[in-house]
Amino acid sequence: MTEPVLEVEGLVKHFPVRGLGAKGVVHAVDGVSFRIGRGELLGLVGESGSGKSTVANCVMRLVAPTAGAIRLNGTDITRLSRRALRPLRRSMHMVFQDPYSSLDPRMTCGQIVGEPLDVQGLARGRDLDVRVSQLFDRVGLRDELRFRYPHELSGGQRQRVGLARALAVSPELLVADEPVSALDVSVQASILNLLRDLQEELGFSCLFITHDLATVEYLCDRVAVMYLGQIVEVAPTRELFGNPKHPYTQSLLSAGVVPDPEVQRSRTRVVLEGDLPSPLEPPSGCRFRTRCPLEPRSAPQSHDEEPPLVDVGDGHLVACHLVRRGETPDLYRPLEVAR
């Protein structure tokens, strides 16, 4: 494998909590490792509270990691100063979830898209205008929208502005945190298609964060599933959806709804008991054990030992005691659909 664009190793992010009688540490991310190859789209999937956005924010150095290492093109950026980081900001950019609050309301859309070029000193004056025009064209926005303010645009258009801004400096890595979840279904489709086209055209790598499995399956090359601050399974997309091994991944896949009554009503569904445990006090051993339907089979090992993420072949990594012992969790088997 050629050198990865992004390498995250043992990433930990703890947020201390004080006040209101509570004291402790939120274990938002607890030892996450993954790599993204050149031109690869990695989907990071998880439910709310799994720590997926914190991973994105750490990678972008929007929050300082507690421990671990983040390497961008081989350069360790974990502890770089803001000044030292600035030239590297050209290599990575982010698209945020909320297209309303992530654009400065006092700037025109043209200024917003041109700002990274200006800050990085890549274009000035007439040249800048031309570049911004090209970017608007590339993301499918009419040129005259350059002179409009964000509030005059629809949600979908705003997200296109966010995408144009992120791609202005031709980054090697795009971090997209739930970029379509605030949009209507028909608008989502156009943004996802656009993202896919741009990726093919420009060849950037992408860390795509979402809770929506169907989107990941449509867009990504590889998928990592997070639960309570840790990655429980990673595999190439086709493998993960066709042959999920971790009980959590299986329940997640079984819970997703398919817009087809025949298929949807004949599916097996695993309904997880209870709620996500508090990240203030994550369970000992395997973090999923408190909700795992197969816990009786994995106990007591799952109570005492944290299962490591182990390669089971073909780049498929699973963190489960049962899988490690050679047993196959069989909560859910994907239907044989034409893949």
């Binding site: 439910e47 709310s48 629809s154 979908g156 209507d184 279904v185 028909s186 608008v187 989502q188 489709a189 156009s190 996802l192 298609n193 896919r196 809770h211 499995l213 169907a214 989107t215 399956e217 449509y218 867009l219 959806f241 329940s251 997640l252 079984s254 819970a255 997703g256 709804v257 398919v258 817009p259 087809d260 009554p261 025949e262 298929v263 949807q264 009503r265 569904r269 309904v271 997880l272 008991e273 209870g274 709620d275 996500l276 659909v337 034409a338 893949r339």
Partner: protein, 323 residues
């Protein structure tokens, strides 16, 4: 015999920018123990329609039409008659469980309030019944949860509390507005199971307002698709997904990523502003089948098969989708 019969419902808001027709001549029926899915994107009038039935809209709204329920026209019933129906026979579950629960009261008291007000139960009886209801919606250790405040519960549990509150008086109709939208998929699966269970065990009819076609495919018996304040298609669930007729329905189905399918289909343009609707069919500016007739005339709903209605001059499955 239908439980609820809505006919020619129109809702107009008078705003500074002129009248906005949020709902335009909507007719629909809901049968006993039926689950009706109402689908559409934001601003299509799906929530407003049902809020108007219970007269939950602000003063600026003008509501016309009839809504017959149990021999009463809800839109003309007296305030006291309506209060007997609202919350007791027809109950509403809102989308955002955090803002629809009062943060200053224990959940048990909030459920209890409904029981004391509508059924005249004593404080002690109301509490006992609240525990039963929490148990019914499968909240673990209800005896403890009954004394907790909304912030102590997770999103999924809050939604269960909302459902428990709605079920408190054993209503005939439960109107659930995007009940799973703010929730994670594993929690959503639990809530959908609960809806199915409620219908089967209590025989409650359910109106499920959602933008998620997967949710509709999962639990609805019949589906109404809305666009820009109008009903554009209606059919039993299997029929709708197997033979969608309206280009908007076709578009929505093609826009959802699903295994094995190729590139997502886009619906060009955007949902029109209700203040400035086009003259003809509201979908015409985004429609691949639009022509002169569509652009200048509004299509009426017509029957195209058993229980299958569509408001389109050129109905049929998409050529692209069939290929």
């Amino acid at each position: 015999m239908s439980l609820l019969e809505v006919e020619d419902l129109s809702v107009r808001f008078d705003t500074d920018d002129g009248p906005v027709h949020a709902v335009d001549h909507l007719s629909l029926t809901l049968g006993e123990s039926e689950v009706l899915g109402v689908v559409g994107e934001s601003g299509c009038g799906k929530s407003v329609s049902f809020m108007s039935l219970l007269r939950l809209l602000p003063e600026t709204a003008t509501v016309n039409g009839t809504a017959r329920f149990d021999g009463v026209d809800l839109l003309r019933a007296s305030g006291s008659r309506l209060r007997q129906i609202r919350g007791r026979q027809i109950a509403f579950v809102f989308q955002e469980p955090m803002t629809s629960l009062n943060p200053a009261f224990k959940v048990g008291n909030q459920i209890g309030e409904v029981l004391r007000r509508h059924l005249g139960l004593s404080r002690a009886d109301a509490r006992a019944r609240a525990i039963e209801l929490l148990h019914l919606v499968r909240i673990p250790s209800p005896e403890r949860r009954v004394d907790e405040y909304p912030h102590q519960l997770s999103g999924g549990m809050r939604q269960r509390v909302m459902i428990a509150m709605a079920l408190a008086c054993d209503p005939k109709i439960l109107i659930a507005d995007e009940p799973t939208t703010a929730l994670d998929v594993t929690i959503q699966a639990g809530i959908l199971d609960l809806m199915r269970d409620i219908r089967e065990r209590l025989g409650t009819a359910i109106v499920l307002i959602t933008h998620n076609l997967g949710v509709v495919a999962d639990v609805a018996d019949r589906v109404v698709v809305m666009y820009a304040g109008r009903k554009v298609e209606e059919a039993p669930v299997h029929e709708l997904f197997a033979r969608p007729q309206h280009p908007y329905t076709n578009g929505l189905l093609g826009a959802v990523p699903r295994p094995g399918a190729g590139r997502l289909r886009e619906i060009p343009g955007r949902v029109p502003s209700l203040a400035e609707l086009p003259r003809g069919c509201a979908f015409a500016p985004r429609c691949p089948r639009a022509d002169e007739i569509t652009r200048s005339n509004v299509p009426d709903l017509r029957s195209i098969g058993p229980q299958h209605l569509v408001a389109c001059f050129h109905p049929g499955p998409d050529v692209e989708a069939v290929a």
